[in-house]
């Protein structure tokens, strides 16, 4: 399992004691990543702001069910946020325009928190090595909640190819990131 940064341990303790200070620490340490995820997934900035607030409330409300043995706090919060976005997207039946990988701007400069799992400057460089067609499948599935069938149709490729590309992209990411996130 990945190493747990001390701040994560502290936040978990506070959350489980029902102390609001936990949310303040989450905001300061992970707010930019969670908000960035909402911006990336939602069709408009307004939607992103709304879902971000909703996700933060959910994190607070469901904190007692968090199990440190099952997932890292960071991953757990990302999942809650991602699901809040997908719920909202499906509810409104609106999806953002698919950004071309080539033109997608990674706002790494905004990331100055030291507790994130990786060095983002390095990550950006690594991500550029992913094949654009593989990365696109990952984007569509993971960030926009498209199903395998929808992606196949959208990209006009066979169903099997969608799976192959996703597997390949994850495997590449794993290779790039393994040394950073530790194991």
């Amino acid at each position: 399992m990945s190493k747990r940064p001390p701040i994560e341990v502290k936040i978990v303790d506070l959350l489980q004691d029902g102390k609001q200070e936990a949310m303040s620490l989450i905001y300061d340490n992970y707010g930019a990543v969670l908000f960035g995820l909402c911006v990336r997934m939602m069709p408009s900035r307004e939607d992103a702001e709304e879902v971000f607030q909703e996700a933060m409330i959910k994190i607070w409300r469901y904190a007692q069910s968090y199990d440190a043995d099952k997932a890292r706090l960071y991953t757990w919060m990302m999942n809650i946020t991602r699901n809040a976005c997908i719920d909202q997207i499906r509810k409104n039946d609106r999806r953002p325009q698919i950004q071309d990988v080539e033109t997608h701007v990674y706002k790494v400069d905004a990331v100055h928190q030291s507790n994130l799992p990786v060095d983002h400057i390095g990550l950006e460089k690594e991500l550029e090595k992913l094949r654009p067609e593989d990365r696109k499948v990952l984007e569509l599935a993971y960030f926009q909640g498209f199903t395998q069938g929808e992606i196949a149709k959208k990209l006009n490729v066979p169903l099997g190819t969608v799976k192959t590309r996703a597997r390949k992209a994850i495997s590449e990411l794993k290779r790039f990131l393994a040394r950073d996130i530790g194991s």
């Binding site: 399992m1 960035g36 469901y62 069910s65 997932a71």
Partner: protein, 286 residues
């Protein structure tokens, strides 16, 4: 199962992308609980995806923190347990659901969702209780049905055994009757106004006697028919007839190598040492 092969199959990546069926989704969750290696691979893949997602970090607008913290205040005592948060998000089924454990939720009237959840839980528990009761009744009915079936099977088994016994008896009787040395002696009524007949099959060589009741009046209360052989003018008892039975019966009579005639008398229950002659019903000469 080889966990390594399972991981290498790519199912974990498919699972993370939501490219799996409901059955496969449950399978991955189940496997990750059983095999630590699969669990580790799943967590690692999740972390990788989250890390990737972190690349698009962006500062929230000014004032957002205050807004969120103010909203938390409305939540008062804070965290409630979410009974079963899925470990991994699937695009098919968001992990955050509103199924809140009412026992753990803050009991504030300012939280309608708490009341709704409590009401939902109450309705659910009634529903489950009803289902349980229903299943219980069904199980009881099934149990009774099984017991009844068992009893019927046992009865049928007993009947079959009886029939087998009968069959063996008839085979043996038939064999005796059709023996070359067997003589058939018909016993006729001795009382003209009372019709009665019986048949005796006698094999002097084997000293076996069979008799068949044919048509004899029903026995009076506490009385029983007794079969006699007349040997050199003297009656010799060769047995009692079963009460009210028309079955062909075999009796092995020792020493009955010769006989002049056979007769049946009605005697007190259990028979007599010597025949009551005025109660003779049928007689037949060899």
């Amino acid at each position: 199962m080889d966990p390594k092969k399972y991981i290498e199959s790519g199912i974990i990546e498919d699972y993370l992308m939501g490219f799996v069926s409901e059955q496969e989704r449950q399978e991955v969750q189940c496997m990750s609980k059983i095999y630590p290696e699969i669990n580790e691979a799943l967590r690692q893949a999740e972390d990788i995806m989250s890390t990737w997602a972190a690349a698009s970090a962006e500062e929230p607008p000014a004032g957002m923190k205050e807004k969120i913290m103010a909203n938390l205040g409305e939540q008062e005592k804070g965290p409630v347990a979410m009974p079963a948060l899925k470990v991994v998000a699937s695009s098919h089924e968001p992990s955050v659901k509103s199924s809140i454990n009412p026992a753990a939720s803050p009991s504030k009237s300012s939280q309608p969702i708490g009341w709704i959840a409590a009401a939902a839980a109450l309705i659910l528990s009634f529903f489950l209780a009803y289902q349980w009761q229903d299943s219980l009744q069904f199980m009881q009915a099934m149990e009774q049905e099984i017991v009844a079936q068992d009893q019927e099977l046992e009865t049928l088994g007993n009947q079959l055994q009886e029939l087998q016994g009968d069959k063996e008896q008839y085979q043996s009787l038939w064999a005796a009757v059709s023996e070359p040395g067997t003589q058939k002696i018909t016993l006729n009524t001795v009382q003209e106004d009372k019709p009665a007949t019986a048949t005796v099959y006698w094999n002097p060589e084997k000293e076996e006697t069979l008799f068949y009741r044919d048509q004899l009046p029903a026995e009076a209360e506490n009385s029983q028919y007794q079969l006699w052989a007349i040997v050199k003018g003297k009656p010799v008892s060769i047995g009692l007839l079963a009460l009210n039975s028309n079955e062909l019966q075999l009796q092995n009579m020792s020493g009955l190598a010769e006989a002049d005639a056979f007769a049946i008398t009605l005697e007190p229950l259990g028979g007599s040492e010597s025949p009551t002659l005025d109660q003779m019903v049928v007689m037949g000469k060899v």
